[in-house]
Symmetry: C2
Subunit: 441 residues, 2 copies
Amino acid sequence: MARRRPASTTLRVALLGCGNVGLALYELLTEPVQRAALAERTGLTFDVVGIAVTSTKPVRSSAPWFDASLLTTDAASLVLRPDVDVVVEVMGGIDGTVDLLDAALRSGASVVSANKALLAVHGRRLSQLAYDHGADLRYEAAVAGAIPILRVLRDALAGEQVHRVMGIVNGTTNFILSTMAAGGGDYAAVLEQAQRLGLAERDPAADVLGTDAAAKAAILASLAFDCKVTTKDVHCEGITEVTAADVAFARDLGFAVKLLAVCELLDGDELSVRVHPTMVPLDHPLAAVDGAFNAVFVEGASCGELMLYGRGAGGRPTASAVLGDLVEVARSMRRGGTPDVPLAPKVRPRRPLAAIASAFYLTIDVADRPGVLAEVTAIFGRHGVSIRSMEQLDLAGEARLVFVTHVALEGAMAATVKDLRRCRVVDRVGTLLRVIEGDQN
Amino acid sequence: MARRRPASTTLRVALLGCGNVGLALYELLTEPVQRAALAERTGLTFDVVGIAVTSTKPVRSSAPWFDASLLTTDAASLVLRPDVDVVVEVMGGIDGTVDLLDAALRSGASVVSANKALLAVHGRRLSQLAYDHGADLRYEAAVAGAIPILRVLRDALAGEQVHRVMGIVNGTTNFILSTMAAGGGDYAAVLEQAQRLGLAERDPAADVLGTDAAAKAAILASLAFDCKVTTKDVHCEGITEVTAADVAFARDLGFAVKLLAVCELLDGDELSVRVHPTMVPLDHPLAAVDGAFNAVFVEGASCGELMLYGRGAGGRPTASAVLGDLVEVARSMRRGGTPDVPLAPKVRPRRPLAAIASAFYLTIDVADRPGVLAEVTAIFGRHGVSIRSMEQLDLAGEARLVFVTHVALEGAMAATVKDLRRCRVVDRVGTLLRVIEGDQN
């Protein structure tokens, strides 16, 4: 279908949600200087014509010109209003929300969303729906906040053969791991601190278990490799088992521990998408990404290594990304013409986790007596996992063995861990961390 | 004028120049797998229809399918061929080259160029010419190689109020400074090493004097702040006076020395664009950008800090950026419609260098006797430059004073340096480095 053109020189925006991000966006869209700049840069004036909220309690905006008459609790009617050109979704949720976006796109309105959980499941279908109805769907803010990584993958790298994308895409876990690395205490204490600072939710599960990062990994992989990837395709391990001792040991070995989203195209075609705590060499650009910052590292056949770094969350940085999308929608509506060819997503085989190669870090607490080391290392050997380095720390009555392996298959390492758990001289098997080797980069 | 549409489903490309970048690009455009991927992602097949070279000596391509019959020494005729949709300029030069691009745009062909020196002078005029003839002008490869910074400024940050852009945009000087920091020797020795490694030209002037970085700074500033900025507007100091002792001292103080291109919009409207060696705090993301890598750090009102990092030079990374532009031209031609509104460049006042505020690093060699320090510091005081720290090193028969100042005006500091040079107890005034304070970020 031909692209819808704006009815006049105005782009009429409906906002779904008026929390942190929605309010920051409203202020960016309506502040007079900013509004004039937007009109100049797009040829269209931006007007907010309605704001859907869940309750009618007053909105606390710092903008004195905030227009409370725009508020409505009837989101379903708002998205279908004929005077809405673009619907901005910053309300969150999946099931009810996707119906609203669906309805908006079917009516020919464009959609800008910051909702990673929704897009990691419904992104491909909504993109096709947008194309079928001559509308745009944009969701830069869904991954890594203000960092324009989706746009770079879709546009700047459209001619590039990207083979790996690695991202620090969750600020909460990065703050926790950075603080642990700076000697801030063990996991539980630092999580509490993050909660006090408002950097972690009261229920931190989505962050610390890696599911938030997994949704973003799915979106990154589906754009980088042009195939359908949903959260279910992502192997996901969180940071709840990482100890301060692990982080300190990693640092002594020359590594920072980061929760990485890793998207790979192996041997040119097989897909692997994983989220797990990873040891990153200190001289790797991702190692220096601390606190609540995010970064995405891309490797391509011609561009080589490329990294984008910035604020991954927060009202204004997220609103900035939404605003960038709105500018793009405005320019595209004003321009008219034939929409871009939608990519027919490729069907790519998934490489099973067991067949992924990596180096590993593993700690094992054992009884402190002769012969134990031989017994333990024999288990590694039995599965063909070759040990690069081992260090022994004395604990009260037992010893902690800290192993770093050479590159081995995940399957072999999993079998090793299983046998170690069964081994009578082993008291406890600690965290398994993947290790990025310095020479890989 | 309405945008030109391609005559068929083919995008016909003329290459001007077949050096490192031209050859890498030819191979990317013609390699079968890559060619199929481009067709899929743009809806158009890319065909190279001619390659302008300066001499007819054989081109050494690693592609067995290289078609020597495409070569011509008649660039002027090539750009006017009616079967050329887009002209890619990777030949360099300014005066003769700009006439070719001019002719191409007037004939309605789009232009992709990697020529920073040309664009820093003629960019605005060529952009207007492109718009007037329904063509596109793109030049991502002109600044920071494979890093898509121009696109991010133009598109992703189009809704953002950017107030500062700082870039490490010259790989040669960054390699030299990084190597000096790693204890690799003094400036002259490291420059020789860079020349041996092919990282510096035989005549390194454009790199080490900062003029290459100044051209890129002009392009960055004109995009970030939407105004006409040419190389002449850029205050430019190179790295030839930076000594290994300065770099080592900076490191002890917690800084890395980088040649920075700094583009600022001060008090919301006044422009300042400068290139100079700068002390960057070690915990700033730019400090970790080593060797031949480039990075551009952007600060905006909503997005906060954003950094893009990657390969700033080399045949394939540069060709990758050109290819990204070609994909954009292809999509835009296929799409048709009304071209984007060209921005009427704003006239912004220039803030004179003397009125720019900064902290400074300065070394002064003095006679080693009582009363000298009082005399020297009195000169700082007379110009209102407040000293934050001073360290004294013993040299044979004299002393080296290493000063770091609080923030002062460039004018006051220049007057201080002038008086220090005249002072009878001062034997030598060393390098003046600007210092980015940790708390500025």
